[in-house]
Symmetry: C2
Subunit: 354 residues, 2 copies
Amino acid sequence: MPNAVELSAPAPFRQVEAPAPVVAIVGATGAVGVELLACLAARGFPLGGLRLLASARSAGRTLDFAGRAVAVDELTEESFRGVDIALFSAGSDISRRYAAAAVKAGAIVIDNSSAFRVDPDVPLVVPEVNAAALAGHRGIVANPNCVAAIATVALAPLHRARPIRRLAAATYQAASGAGTAAMEELRASTAAWLHGEPFEPTVLPHPYAFNLFSHNAAVDPETGYNGEELKVIAETRRLLDAADLPVGITCVRVPVLRAHAMALTMTFDEPLSPDEARRLLTAAPGLRVVDDRAANHFPMPSEASGRDEVLVGRIRTDLGDPSGRSLCLFVAGDQLLKGAALNAVQIAELLLRR
Amino acid sequence: MPNAVELSAPAPFRQVEAPAPVVAIVGATGAVGVELLACLAARGFPLGGLRLLASARSAGRTLDFAGRAVAVDELTEESFRGVDIALFSAGSDISRRYAAAAVKAGAIVIDNSSAFRVDPDVPLVVPEVNAAALAGHRGIVANPNCVAAIATVALAPLHRARPIRRLAAATYQAASGAGTAAMEELRASTAAWLHGEPFEPTVLPHPYAFNLFSHNAAVDPETGYNGEELKVIAETRRLLDAADLPVGITCVRVPVLRAHAMALTMTFDEPLSPDEARRLLTAAPGLRVVDDRAANHFPMPSEASGRDEVLVGRIRTDLGDPSGRSLCLFVAGDQLLKGAALNAVQIAELLLRR
């Protein structure tokens, strides 16, 4: 029987009127799973219980949650009895296999994989962008791809003021998007490089130390776009409710550990001045404007890492569009937080409020 | 008196009919200076003599050239007596101060700084792109900015077949563009990070270990574009002989040592198919097409480093342009070679042939 920790007062959690939900984390030992735990604790998420689930390989380990050791159980179809919210972050195959069992057991699934992101019956939600979409859920809510989540936090306030008609993006993506093993491969291969030692990559397909490469998702032989790029295109359209938005994108993996960055260029019907954009972005939730031209201080992964807000800067009119209707931004956001765990917990918070 | 090494037979250099030129390198001890020496040796450049010049601080050092130790002299206005070709790579101030003296002494200056790149009396040359422009020189030839040089090698064959009407670029620039000290700062700060030790950057304005940041060139307060971006725009237009080409660009410094990469999107009047583009790029000089969709193998800094050719791949129609008239490329080239030293030596070779 799953080893659910029953959390009763005096607990370090915010007390609420309604019974606090029992939350399960599927993939608790992964890069995102660990951050989900940290987000729940840091945000004082009201917990009636916490169940940590992972593959048989990880079962029996314990993870720290707000100073308590919580045992990790093996994920089975029986794992969801009594669970109110199931946060899935163990890849698409696991989500496809177990989400229905969780829903059947009465849980609402918030899925961090790409399994349901383009399913019209499953809302894809970034709370700052399209919280209203959550209302239509039928037991599963999809958490977007990290690039789409981070980008749309910056795009939405502009899109609301003046619809975006075209979007171009080039990404600078961190190792964390490929999991903890990729982060460790970046560290280990860089250490080997600095010591003049050989290193054979096993997680990512190319050398990573002081190197970068086109995103490792499989490339569609027809269009030449890789799976990551096609995800970002489809999900950005859904999140911005702009089904036909033309999106061009190049996704690149850079030797950074956990925060993504991206250069975005958006085209409007009429020019949007950098000052007006700055005003909109400054007033928007989940964003922090970092745009100090004099100090050459703009969004950087080092300052986005471990931070809830998405950083946005380099706000300027695109010199590449002679019509003056295009605007450029540079954005950085923590891939494991807004790009994954934080957004999932924010969705759970929205569910509680409803 | 400058310490010119007179090189006579039996020398490891190609023998030519005309008297071989005496070559001076200004900034011989810098990152590009060292590569200039290596390029001259590797290409068997015919040398009647070699003079290495640097600041008083570096004078007295010796550098290896094809197995010989060559002394470094202090740069003065008298350094250019008897010099036929002076390769300058010591920054704009030095070029502005000493180029006239070199020309007055009878040398042709090939200048790797930005001092003369937009001077209409000074041709800006990438041999694969606009060799004919060299004919108009009046003693000084400008070697382009590294991004402009690398990008235009890939852009020119397409532009010749079908004029580019608009260009968008996002760069992934290596430490080498900021000199050997920046390369060392990347290495040292990364080693410190891996050992959990603090590191205070002194060369670049931001932490560099596993981080990236908007290019460190000063930002124009009016447009919000930094000096690097404005250089690339102006120089790309000159090199492609497209004075009004709209160019949008975001320049970013990434934790890579010596090869730049860039995502390029170009718009034509009529669609250019990826197959046709691949054919043109495959046939073009100075390029190597690396575009294996099945193996997810595309241009990478690790494979561009130390290599003369610019790598080009990810050749695909831009999904962000609904007219189908835009094409994307991903390019990687050695910043110290095609982005600097190699291009300068190629210009010198062109001068010899004339």
